[in-house]
């Protein structure tokens, strides 16, 4: 059942459209991420759900109730901010209990809920500390508890991890997801970090220039991008100019080197200019798996990235990246060596020129 529904939402600032024709249905308990580069309208859309921005047109409903024109303090929507936004004059417990205090709940009820929330975020020992006495990660956990203490209908997270260092970020995103699942709350998460969106979401809304480019599961968005923008923005991607050789077989030519694609090219004609796109991890050395698309390549560079080794190849006149898992017992090719590499037909994506 649709819990949060955004219908034909648009937002203009002085003649500039920052969000246009945004339509989205979010199920109860679903975790949806808005992913896109800076200025794509993801935060503006989130702020319209929170009530801090008013849509120029369109409607927002929660559980069937139209909240488009309801004041932010009447919406019962929890929000977590990038810079935590904890009240510095209040202790952790006071921050968490603030919403309930505003709603004039009894002291006993507030205390019970605050303790429950403190246990949820594992900060029971820090109840009487002030925000400045906590680390960034701890502060964001308190912000999460504060937002959840009011039992909001929807939880909004505006780049909540971007101010934290890498290790804490990974740890906290797992915590956020676990808590969201445990509480069964509908959540909208804004991020420009694709890894974050891919790892945490039930569905991802990829946005660009105020429009939705694609909505899908992380698997769909990563493996089957609908547009060139999505293909480029989500994950690393090698792209090269090519032309259609045989539209029925999906045969393509890049600098005279042939690739076969499983993607339909039947709606194209022979000689049509297209772009082929192949993710770095979809390449492999042909000696390991001689299948389709076996091509000669020159090893140009090798970069060690920890769990992954990135090999820069030259196929014809075009440079490609190939990612392979780091295996210390497997000898890597030498720079300058000529090796055969391969990728499956499914790995070759066809994008419009």
């Amino acid at each position: 059942m649709t819990h949060l529904k955004l219908t034909n939402i648009s937002k203009e600032y002085g003649g500039t459209t920052v969000v246009q024709d945004f339509n989205l249905d979010v199920e109860q308990g679903e975790f949806v991420s808005f992913l896109g580069p800076s200025g794509c309208g993801k935060t503006t859309t989130l702020r319209m759900v929170a009530g801090f921005e008013k849509p120029t047109s369109g409607t927002i409903t929660i559980n069937g109730q139209d909240i488009t024109n309801i004041a932010p303090n009447q919406r019962n929507v929890g929000m977590i901010f990038q810079a935590y936004a904890l009240f510095p004059n209040m202790t952790v417990a006071q921050n968490i209990g603030f919403g309930m205090q505003i709603h004039k709940e009894s002291k006993g009820a507030i205390k019970e809920r605050v303790n429950e929330m403190l246990a949820l975020i594992n900060l029971e020992k820090h109840a009487n500390k002030y925000p400045f006495q906590l680390s960034g990660g701890q502060q964001q956990r308190v912000a999460l508890a504060r937002a959840l203490a009011n039992r909001p209908q929807v939880l909004l997270l505006d780049e909540p991890l971007s101010a934290l260092d890498a290790k804490i970020r990974v740890q906290l995103r797992s915590e956020i997801r676990a808590i969201q699942k445990k509480m069964g709350i509908t959540a909208i998460f804004v991020t420009h970090d694709q890894e974050e969106a891919l790892s945490i979401s039930d569905r991802i809304v990829v946005m660009y220039e105020g429009r939705i480019e694609q909505v899908g599961t992380p698997f769909e968005v990563y493996n089957f991008p609908n547009t060139r923008f999505v293909a480029n923005f989500v994950g690393s991607l090698n792209t090269a100019d090519a032309e259609v050789v045989d539209p029925v077989k999906g045969l393509l030519s890049m600098d005279g080197i042939h690739f076969e694609s499983a993607e339909g090219t039947k709606d194209r004609k022979k000689g049509d200019k297209i772009k082929i796109a192949i993710r770095p991890e979809r390449f492999g050395f042909a000696s390991e798996q001689k299948k389709a698309n076996v091509v000669d390549s020159t090893i140009e560079n090798i970069t060690f990235l920890g769990s992954v080794v990135r090999i820069q190849l030259k196929i014809g006149n075009t440079k490609f990246n190939m990612d392979t898992f780091n295996n210390p017992f497997l000898e890597l090719p030498k720079i300058g060596a000529i090796e055969q590499v391969t990728c499956s037909r499914e790995a070759v994506l066809v994008l419009d020129e």
């Binding site: 929170a50 009530g51 801090f52 004041a71 932010p72 303090n73 009447q74 019962n76 929507v77 929890g78 929000m79 901010f81 810079a83 936004a85 904890l86 009240f87 510095p88 004059n89 603030f98 919403g99 205090q101 505003i102 709603h103 400045f132 504060r146 937002a147 009011n150």
Partner: protein
């Protein structure tokens, strides 16, 4: 085959230990000289002088005894405290509202820069020039008084006096509220928009946001700055002297009359009075520092 001579080189000499004297001290020497000549030396002279008999130069509590037994001297402290309280609270409230309107009131940006420029000048406009400005403006024959008279309203017929306590308070306000604007502005800048949004998001109204969040956050800064204004007013001398000619018995004017060196003066008593002022100022500065520290911690 090419051969290479092995050249034996001594290990590079360790860099000599830095000499204990740093020439950078010369740069700050004028500051220390200044502080010694105009702060430490006069303060020590006051402290010592307050416990010395002026004629015999022997140790005595007589100066303080005299001070505590004289109702007019105690009254001078009270008048100074009263005018300082009134102008610090009045200037504080007015300055805060002005600063908040210019910074957060959604006014055009030039309003803020214009206000700050004015406040920078006005907060330092004190002493004889300030008194003179007000005399030319608001004395019985002043320009503004003339205009008001021309419009049929003579303020002097309605209880206004430039040369009494309230007149002096108005003059003091001229440098008090600009100082408030200048000192409170960073604290107002430090109020983050996210706090308002977070409060609203949790169900708070605008009033509740001010009551529970914004005002408590700003309160230490407001109080701290008011204490600063108190000290600013408490130590003022030249404006009052020039405007009222000593008619208002402020403690600074009394000290001035004791230390002027005429036959009626008692330097020991003047030093004792000044010591009392130092105590009040130390309390004020300590209070300001503590509150400012709290604000900085919250608004970091």
């Amino acid at each position: 085959m090419a051969t290479f001579d092995v050249v034996k080189r001594d290990a590079p000499k360790a860099r000599p230990a830095l000499s204990k004297f740093s020439w950078a001290w010369l740069g700050v020497l004028p500051f220390f000289l200044f502080a010694f000549m105009f702060l430490i030396y006069p303060s020590s002279t006051i402290a010592l002088g307050s416990f010395q008999d002026t004629k015999t130069h022997t140790f005595t509590f007589q100066n303080f005894a005299h001070l505590l037994q004289s109702p007019s001297l105690i009254a001078s402290y009270w008048i100074s405290i009263k005018i300082s309280l009134i102008t610090s609270i009045g200037g504080g409230i007015f300055g805060f509202l002005l600063a908040y309107s210019a910074i957060r009131g959604g006014l055009p940006r030039f309003m803020r820069s214009s206000l700050m420029t004015f406040c920078g000048v006005a907060s330092n406009f004190a002493g004889v020039p300030l008194a003179f400005a007000f005399i030319t403006l608001l004395s019985p024959s002043g320009v503004l008084t003339g205009w008001l008279k021309a419009m049929g309203y003579n303020p002097y017929f309605h209880g206004f006096q430039l040369y009494n306590f309230w007149g002096l308070s108005i003059v003091y306000m001229y440098f008090q509220f600009p100082l408030m604007v200048l000192v409170i502005a960073p604290a107002i800048d430090g109020l983050r928009k996210e706090w308002l949004e977070a409060a609203e998001n949790l169900g708070a109204s605008s009033f509740q946001y001010w009551r529970y969040v914004a005002f408590p956050i700003l309160l230490p800064a407001i109080l701290g700055t008011m204490i600063l204004l108190f000290g600013n007013s408490f130590g003022a001398f030249a404006t009052a002297q020039a405007l009222t000619g000593g008619a208002i018995n402020l403690v600074t004017i009394v000290i001035g009359s004791q230390l002027r060196g005429d036959v009626l003066g008692d330097a020991g008593l003047g030093y004792a009075l000044a010591s009392g002022m130092v105590v009040v100022m130390v309390i004020a500065i300590t209070g300001y520092t503590l509150l400012q520290r709290q604000t900085e911690r919250w608004l970091r």
